[in-house]
């Protein structure tokens, strides 16, 4: 979540879900919260009962819209224009929270003179490298006082804390993910500021100019939103922000799954900083994660590019020594807590390799694997097709149904030597070799597939112990209700057993490459069923003192972590969850018996803080902005920060404290630097680092769009990751020849009744009967245009696939008028799949239609916007299906280059 990480310093929801009840206005955009987070939605309902205004801004009228005060339909992928126009409006009319912006954001900070904006370069920022299709980030840096004359000449040091400065390298490592728990590094915190915010080079002025053409008229033309609706949204936000009132934003994958998804989130972050809504009750940005423990799976990651606690995975050739690695994370001269990255890394290495990690061997840093490119999930599948990836573990994942370009996924798996599927059911990814769509078309024959598939039944959530870390960074202990049936086992059991078996196999090895496995601390106590003790794992994650009086005791907080090997801890941000030997994740004190913040319900990282950056809930002098929104404030008598939550600030730091210029680390934080994980202690309106595709969000059209970018010659994100492959063709955009072959916009989503690829719902009769069939949602106008009948069948064709769906004709889908032209959007829930054993319901998968073009910050696919055609009737079967897809492709004149030209500025024909 680099959008939040680069803006505030931590890539997680800025507040807790219950706090949404304190909002005076809730803007839900890029999320269908009522359908996808129905339990959390109770707090939106609560806010509404208390009188808050709830707005839903979304291409579709959903169950969220049904209970909102107003639904504002918006063209898919035009969110940056919409939010950018609000930014422009509040800046032009001076409606932003000036005092907050001046004190707590980088609004007054000066940017160096080499910076050129998209307004100057027709949609590009300075530093674009057309050869590599990526940005050099240097010119976006802060101006620095180091050269003494204050004219803004850079001294060549700013922004060079990390070794990897070129966007292409950042992109390969999906470096944005690292900002989950700390902002991007700066060389130091000596910056130039203009507190009047009038200098043309200060961030606020750059912001004004950047969004100057994002007007209500542009919103009407490009987003399809009426001037009246736009005014209503602006009015709602402005009247519900300020000292006395706060507005909260909520988003989910409706924002992330775009080729500039991280920038959508950045736009909202800028807006919330301008309105002074970060760090305050009823404010913030609620990042609604997609599954039960997705936040947990980035905190203690399943990602290729991260280690626990958002430490980056070392990159071959760049981080060959431990020192190089540490320097790339943070400079000792920058402000805040991230300067202690050495301690966090050493504690992790001690947790993993115990006594084998010593100062002499750089704490076993060389035991860590290295990455050497973007090994994201799609690159991995392409590796399968090239036979460089031979084996695959699938744990609770069903890529044959749930991933974009399903055909590529299945074809890739057919190249594997072995595949392990651990799931509750025999999902499509376990049976594609005998009943997948490619068997039906004749592209694959079972007897030709050499993949050996192992299916291992998994224990469900009620059959195993451990924690979930949910959307608001809250760890909650999950008790085992019953033993898993038959041979089903927990993940913990599986990996522990796998590790034991591999280590036994290697026990006599003298090969140095086996040392990392053999030296691993792998000694968790087991119960009578052979299940490792989940408490022991959580304690290892929490960390312990290794030496001294307290040796063996659990660490109370991450500030106790030392960089000398005297402590260990598996994930620094989780330190404290087992403080005092108490499993705080299992705290379940009823809300009636504690304060409304409920600190004794579960445990939230970091340090059980529920609202992050809560220093900003008080003014620069430390007084609450208002009585009504008091949360954390400075108590001069006690010389301490006090309030309803754990202060997200050094507790005894006086608001008036100002460090000596050039002081780094925690001591470098001034008394008015609320963003303690940011290198300069401020909220970033402008991101000099951290985003590889621009310091400010800029509107680009999706990879496939029937609309010409109305703002710039540059059509789509110039730094997006394209994959030019015959099995991944794209439709032409805008007015390019062939664009009319795929004239409609498709957007995919989920329904309350099902769970993602269906493994947990299509096999359950009670859920399956509620939404038994794959359907498409179309407007009555589109139905008339294409002869579609409600309840009948339709075939949807994209450059990658053709699928059939039942038709739901509904006024909930609104045709949009974009630049005078009618544009139709088609809604496609993606829960169904072909194949799998004994599913109660099955059907074609919407994800088969999608291509693989990725956001450069986080390597997420653009599943929310793609081009397609729709026609009445069922699709052909067998080879005829392939002929239909081919016929469309040749009619549109598709080649691997189509839509994949990164730089299109100035060349009308290329747009």
């Amino acid at each position: 979540m680099p959008g939040l990480g680069a803006s505030f310093g931590r890539g997680g929801a800025t507040q807790f879900v219950q706090d949404m009840a304190n909002a005076d206005c809730i803007i839900i955009q890029g999320s269908n919260m009522a359908e996808c987070h129905p339990v959390a939605y109770q707090w939106v309902t609560e806010a509404k009962l208390r009188g808050a205004r709830v707005l839903h801004i979304d291409p579709r009228f959903t169950r969220t819209s049904a209970t909102a005060d107003r639904h504002v339909p918006l063209r898919v992928g035009s969110d940056v224009i919409f939010l950018g126009a609000i930014i422009n409006y509040v800046l032009t009319h001076e409606l932003y929270f000036a005092e907050y912006v001046r004190a707590f954001t980088n609004g007054p900070t000066l940017i160096n003179e080499d910076y050129a904006d998209t307004e100057d370069l027709d949609g590009l920022f300075s530093g674009y490298d057309p050869e590599r299709g990526a940005y050099d980030l240097k010119s976006w840096a802060y101006a620095t006082a180091d050269d003494g004359d204050g004219d803004g000449d850079t001294d060549g040091k700013v922004g060079e804390a990390g070794a990897e400065e070129h966007g292409v390298e950042k992109r390969e490592a999906a470096a944005g993910d690292q900002h989950g728990s700390g902002g991007p590094a700066l060389e130091h915190a000596r910056v130039l500021r203009d507190d009047t915010m009038t200098d043309p080079r200060c961030v606020l002025q750059i912001l004004r100019r950047h969004y100057s053409r994002y007007t209500p008229e542009m919103v009407e033309q490009a987003c399809g939103v009426s001037a009246e609706d736009f005014a209503y949204v602006v009015d709602s936000l402005v009247t519900n922000s300020g000292r006395d009132r706060t507005t909260c934003f909520a988003y989910a994958v409706g924002w992330t799954q775009h080729t500039l998804g991280a920038q959508f989130i950045r736009t909202a972050s800028i807006l919330q900083l301008l309105m002074g809504n970060i760090g305050r009750p009823g404010g913030g940005i609620m990042a609604l994660r997609g599954h039960a423990s997705i936040q947990g799976s980035t905190d203690i990651p399943t990602l290729f590019n991260l280690l626990p606690g958002y430490l980056p995975m070392p990159y071959a050739g760049r981080h060959d020594t431990f020192e190089h690695y540490l320097t790339s994370i943070a400079s000792k001269q920058q402000k805040g807590f991230w300067v202690n990255a050495d301690a966090y890394a050493i504690n992790l290495l001690k947790a993993w390799w115990g006594d084998a990690a010593t100062a002499d061997n750089s704490w076993a840093f060389d035991y860590l694997p290295r990455i050497n490119g973007s090994h994201n999930t799609y690159a991995t599948v392409m590796g399968m097709l090239e036979d460089t990836v031979e084996g695959y573990f699938l744990l609770g994942q069903n890529p044959a149904v749930g991933s974009s370009n399903g055909r590529m996924q299945r074809m890739g798996m057919a190249h594997l030597k072995w595949l392990v599927v651990r799931d509750l059911q025999l999902i499509e990814s376990a049976t594609f070799w005998k009943d997948g769509p490619e068997i039906a078309t004749g592209e694959l024959r079972t007897e030709d597939i050499g993949t050996e598939v192992f299916f291992l039944p998994a224990a469900s959530y009620a059959e195993k112990e451990g924690t979930f870390t949910q959307t608001q960074r809250l760890l909650q202990w999950r008790h085992k209700a019953v033993a898993p049936p038959g041979q089903s086992r927990s993940e913990l059991h599986f990996f522990h057993e796998l590790g034991k078996k591999i280590r036994a196999r290697l026990a006599d090895s003298t090969d140095p490459r086996d040392r990392p496995l053999l030296d691993l601390t792998w000694d968790y106590p087991e119960d009578e069923h052979g299940d490792p003790d989940a408490h022991a794992v959580l304690q290892e994650i929490n960390g312990r003192y290794l030496t001294g009086d307290k040796a063996g005791e659990l660490l109370p907080a991450f500030v106790e972590m030392k960089a000398d090997g005297s402590t260990s801890g598996g994930c620094w941000i989780y330190t404290g969850v087992y403080a005092g030997g108490v499993n705080r994740a299992a705290s379940r004190k009823p809300d009636a018996e504690q304060s409304w913040v409920s600190p004794e319900w579960g445990w939230a990282w970091p340090a059980n803080r529920r609202i992050l950056y809560n220093r900003a809930s008080a003014d620069p002098e430390g007084r609450p902005w208002s009585e009504r929104k008091a949360y954390v404030w400075w108590d001069a008598d006690k010389a301490s920060w006090v309030g309803h939550d754990v202060p997200d600030f050094p507790v005894t730091k006086d608001p008036a404290y100002r460090p000596e210029p050039g002081t780094g680390g925690v001591a470098g934080l001034a008394g008015d630097d609320p963003f303690i994980m940011q290198a300069d202690g401020k909220g970033w309106l402008f991101a000099p680092k951290g985003m590889v595709d621009g310091p400010l969000p800029t509107h680009y059209e999706p990879q496939e769009s029937p609309v010409v970018n109305p703002l710039y010659g540059q059509q789509a994100n110039p730094a997006r990751m394209v994959y030019k492959r015959k099995d991944n063709l794209s439709a032409p955009s805008g007015t390019r020849p062939g664009a009319d072959v795929y004239p409609y916009v498709a957007t995919t989503y989920r329904l309350t009744e099902h769970h993602t690829a269906g493994g947990m719902s299509r096999w359950l009769p009670y859920l399956a009967e509620l939404q038994p069939a794959f359907f498409c949602e179309v407007s009555p106008e589109l139905a008339a245009e294409r002869g579609l009948e409600n309840g009948g069948w339709a075939t949807i064709i994209s450059p990658r696939a053709a699928v059939e769906a039942r038709v739901l004709v509904t006024e909930r889908m609104t045709p949009m008028t974009i630049s005078g032209r009618q544009l139709h959007q088609i809604g496609l829930p993606y829960h169904w799949g072909v194949g799998g054993s004994d599913a109660v319901v099955s059907g074609d998968s919407a994800n088969d239609l999608l291509g693989v073009t990725l956001d450069p910050n986080v390597a997420i696919q653009e599943s929310k916007a793609s081009s397609c055609d729709i026609r009445a009737g069922r699709r052909p079967t067998g080879e005829a299906l392939l002929r239909l897809i081919n016929e469309y492709q040749s009619r549109a004149g598709l080649t691997v280059e189509t839509g994949n030209t990164l730089l299109t500025g100035g060349d009308e024909a290329d747009r």
Binding site: Q18, D24, P38, V39, P281, E769, Q771, P772, A773
Partner: protein
Amino acid sequence: MSLWRNQLHGPTDPAKDAGWEDPPPRKGFFTDTSICIGCKACEVACKEWNQLPMDHLGMTGDSYDNTSALGASTWRHVAFVEQDAERVEQARESGRLLAEEGPAGGPATGPRTPVALGLPSLRPGLHRITEQDVSRAPATGLPLTGPGTHVDIGPEATDLEAAEMAARQAAVDGTLPDFRWLIASDVCKHCTHAGCLDVCPTGALFRTEFGTVVVQADVCNGCGYCVPACPFGVIERRDRPTDANGERLKTAVKNEGVAQKCTLCYDRLEIGAKPACAQACPTTSIQFGDLSEMRQRAEERVEALHTKGFTEARVYGGDELDGVGGTGSVFLLLDEPEVYGLPPDPRVTTADLPDIFRKAGFAAGSMLVGAAIAFLGARS
């Protein structure tokens, strides 16, 4: 005749009528459809707890409603109704008339007034929920403390800006939307005078101490008299589920052929637990408690919505003077009942039983008298 009257129509305490000595307060639901998000958790929780079989696997094409109706295997049903602005306007107007007419108002057009709202008239001015309103909001189990609870905007606000904001809020609250999606969870009404129970010849249906109506599957002989006796079409005999093509599945299901319906989770009530649907509802759209309180909450919520300009809000059920003596399940609807598939003026099918008996008795008496006269006449 008063005994008959009480047991077959009009206000009464059904548990006492059924012979329960000192029963607990009558229990019931209040389903507030204005905050329902259509998640169908109630449907699933109900099926889980009561171990009901799957019903059918066909997609109906009727918005997001693939359940269609209440039945023997579906005891909670969420309806989805898509409406345009014209219909919303009509609903708003009919609700306004309903509120203005009050209990005495005759049903000049449309259905009769189900319950007295006691609204003086539409109140201008107060447009944000005040502290007092919060305290009267449904007991959600959510903490009503913390920032934002004490909203100092209202008639007493001195701050000019705040007053302006209230005015602005007034301008948008109740603005007619272009489109709306009504979502409502339906359930057995547990009528004061339950036709199903009145006609059951085996005693399988009985009145519980909570005033609810429950079928005992092991007593029911599947005669089916209760099915047409229900004015709401709730109770049915269980059949096998159907597949996507409407074909019945071969596998037998539990209690096949036996009449089934919502028990208001009698087993859970007996141990002091909430019914499964109310427990599972994430937004407190389904509330459970003493029926008198449910009725009061419904009226208060309607009043709050009317104050904000949503005059389409109305209470359904719960009026002791209606055709079933008041329902045990009260609803807040945002349009006329027919829109949700509910009868506008439900009447217990056995309401006329005394009259029928009386008339039959009179007829029989007349016959006897006639016959006697005939004989006497013949003699003379």
